[in-house]
């Protein structure tokens, strides 16, 4: 047995390499690290993985799995869990401590350091390669039950393939505990194999580098009911009405029609039409009922301009008291990725200049595109930080201050004339008659 200390050969180097290479890791969940170690075999014949390189499944099968599963010592123990990535190592393996023992990956680090080992930081879908080899394996395949390897019956003439399915990380209460448990399982199984004197190579990997999307109910928004077609509902939120869907968010504290009527009851809003099929147009229509009678309907159509990247409300129709009023809401506009916010959007008039209908929206926030996680993005406010009035005042003040400064500097430069002063001459005396 030759222990080679290659660059990424020992565990500390592995962890350091992994910490550096994690920057190159693409965010795809199909690239998983693979750790190999063996008590009986050197890995000199297996090609080393280059930085940033992803080993393709076929290469992984041919160049790594096949040599490990052929020959007399071709026993391969495969430890598979559901999630493993470089980030897990940097997070839980105590990598920034030069004297670390591997954190939760204690046993794995021990094996990688002391035995001959090889690490492949990025392999494309190793789970598939392993499934393939299970199907085409010529020797005996053992699936370990209850993570106890003491009862496996090893065939001494043919290679054996032992699959140990580790507990799922995403189902564990927290990831660190999951990794620690799996690490203990690995340590236990390897000890059992060592005790039986089996010559083996071990492989530690996972089926994906990211946890599967959890279907847990979000307890924070217990009131939310999302329809099957992605449409949302109006709920009361923070003293106003919030329309909550996965692609359009609308919040309004009150809609004021004319000078008098205020529509602000969250329960009276009902959605009638909602569509956001692509990233270019979105539309929303809702009604306001009073005593089960519809008194106002409003429909908004929002589009994104492909020239400026700003979305804006293109078309607004309001019906009130039976009258149809297409409104001018062009000023509601924000760049892609921002929501539009206005504390008081007043004097909204109809497109038709003879129409006397006005309305105003109080506490208004709208985001029709690029909604992430049911939250409003940064708000693009209708009032800038320095409004134009403030700028005018600042300019006038600046002019005034500059003039004053100039004047004061002129004043300060007026000095008494000391040209004819003669300290050695006679002082002037003035007789003052009382």
């Amino acid at each position: 047995m030759i222990t080679l200390s290659r660059d990424c050969g020992n565990m500390e180097g592995v962890l350091r390499c992994i910490a550096i290479l994690s920057c190159f890791c693409l965010a795809l969940s199909t690239k998983v690290p693979v750790l190999l170690w063996s008590s009986s075999r050197s890995f000199a014949d297996l090609p080393q993985s280059n930085g940033g390189q992803t080993v393709v499944s076929s290469d992984f099968s041919n160049q790594y799995l096949k040599p490990l599963t052929t020959g007399n010592n071709g026993n391969l123990v495969v430890f598979v869990q559901d999630k493993l990535s470089l980030q897990d190592f940097t997070q839980h393996a105590d990598v920034y401590n030069p004297e670390s023992n591997g954190g939760v990956f204690k046993n794995v680090k021990g094996f990688m350091d002391e035995l001959s080992s090889l690490s492949l930081p990025s392999v494309h879908l190793p789970g598939l390669a392993i499934d393939d080899i299970i199907k085409t394996f010529e020797g005996k395949v053992h699936h370990v039950k209850d993570q106890d390897a003491s009862k496996i019956d090893f065939d001494s003439k043919l290679p054996n393939l032992v699959i140990v399915k580790l507990t799922s990380i995403s189902d564990s209460p927290n990831e660190e505990e999951g990794f620690r448990k799996n690490d203990e399982t690995i340590g236990r199984v390897v000890k059992q194999l060592a005790k039986r004197g089996v010559k083996y190579s071990a492989l530690y990997t996972a089926t994906s580098s990211k946890a599967a999307e959890s279907n847990k109910v979000r307890t924070r928004r217990g009131l939310l009911s999302v329809g099957a077609d992605n449409s949302g509902t109006f709920i009361e939120y923070a003293n106003g009405t919030l329309y909550n869907s996965s692609c359009i968010l609308l919040y309004v504290r009150s809609i004021n029609i004319g000078n008098s009527t205020q529509l602000n009851d969250p329960k009276s809003f009902t959605m009638t039409n909602h569509s956001c099929v692509d990233n270019i147009t979105a539309s929303l229509a809702f009604t306001y009922t009073n005593n089960s009678k519809i008194i106002m309907t409003m429909s908004l159509i929002m589009t994104v301009s492909n020239v400026s990247g700003y979305w804006s409300i293109n078309n607004t129709k309001v019906t009130w008291n039976g009258g149809n009023h297409p409104m001018k809401l062009k000023k509601v506009s924000a760049p892609w990725g921002f929501s539009y916010h206005c504390s008081s959007l007043e004097k909204l008039v109809a497109i038709n200049s003879t129409d006397n209908f006005t309305m105003s929206l109080e506490g208004f926030q709208l985001q029709p595109f690029d909604v992430m996680d049911y939250k409003f993005s940064d708000g693009w406010d209708c009032v800038p930080f320095f409004s134009e009035v403030i700028w005018m005042g600042l300019i006038a003040t600046l002019a005034f201050v500059l003039i004053l400064l100039f004047g004061f500097s002129m004043l300060a430069s007026v000095t008494t004339q000391d040209r004819f002063d003669d300290p050695k001459g006679k002082t002037i005396t003035v007789n003052v008659n009382e």
């Binding site: 760049p335 800038p384 930080f385 700028w391 003039i403």
Partner: protein, 220 residues
């Protein structure tokens, strides 16, 4: 004799003013940098918008500034010139009283600069009138904004050129007074210089009038 702004002197203040200016400048720069970087790094760089500023600020502000700059800068130039010339005439007149009457021409040239300023201020101010941004037609609103900017520009033109003119006439007049006190044949020749100096103020006035011609603010 002449007003000469010196470096901030330690003799007067006891401590050099340089650190004060430096700290003020650095604080101002830091404030501007922080604001600018906040906007840029949060993706709101388009909110730093000079076009918005020019569009949204009222044309009345620009027009009023134009009037103010016209008259105030012209008066500053004239005053500077008069005080320069006047000090020389008074000083030279002690030993050569004959120069007093003749050299009043220099003072009159300086005064003319102030007159240019007030004429322009009145002409510009006459152009300011009311317009309604919501009810008036688009053409009138556009013309009103145009008028605001033009009045500001005319004011700056006339004001700054009159400052330069006034100072020039003043210094030349001061030299003329003292030369006249020495040798009375020199005065007429030097007067030609003063005429040239005075003409540049007239240039400013002419260009200012060209800028202001045809402005139409409001409906009147």
């Amino acid at each position: 004799m002449d007003y000469q702004p010196e470096k901030p002197s330690t003799k007067q203040m006891g401590v050099s003013l340089f650190p004060v200016y430096f700290i003020t400048l650095m604080l101002g720069t830091l404030a501007i940098l922080i604001i600018a970087f906040y906007y840029i790094l949060t993706g709101k760089g388009t909110r730093i918008d000079f076009g918005w500023f020019l569009e949204q600020t009222s044309p009345y502000m620009w027009a009023s500034f134009g009037v103010a700059i016209t008259i105030s800068f012209s008066v500053v130039g004239a005053a500077w010139g008069i005080f320069t010339t006047g000090a020389s005439i008074l000083g030279g007149g002690v030993k050569a009283p004959r120069i007093k009457t003749k050299n009043l021409i220099s003072i009159i040239f300086c005064e003319a600069v102030a007159i240019y300023g007030i004429i322009m201020a009145i002409i510009i101010g006459q152009g300011i009138s009311a317009f309604d941004a919501e009810k008036d037609t688009d053409q009138i609103v556009r013309d009103s904004y145009d008028a605001g900017f033009r009045m500001f520009a005319a004011g700056v033109t006339v004001g700054v050129s009159n400052v330069a003119c006034g100072i020039t006439v003043g210094i030349v007049g001061s030299g003329a007074a003292l030369a006249d006190a020495q040798n009375s044949t020199l005065f007429v020749k030097i007067l030609i210089l003063e005429i040239f100096a005075s003409v540049i103020g007239l240039f400013g006035l002419i260009v200012g009038i060209l800028q202001i011609v045809g402005v139409k603010m409001g409906t009147k």
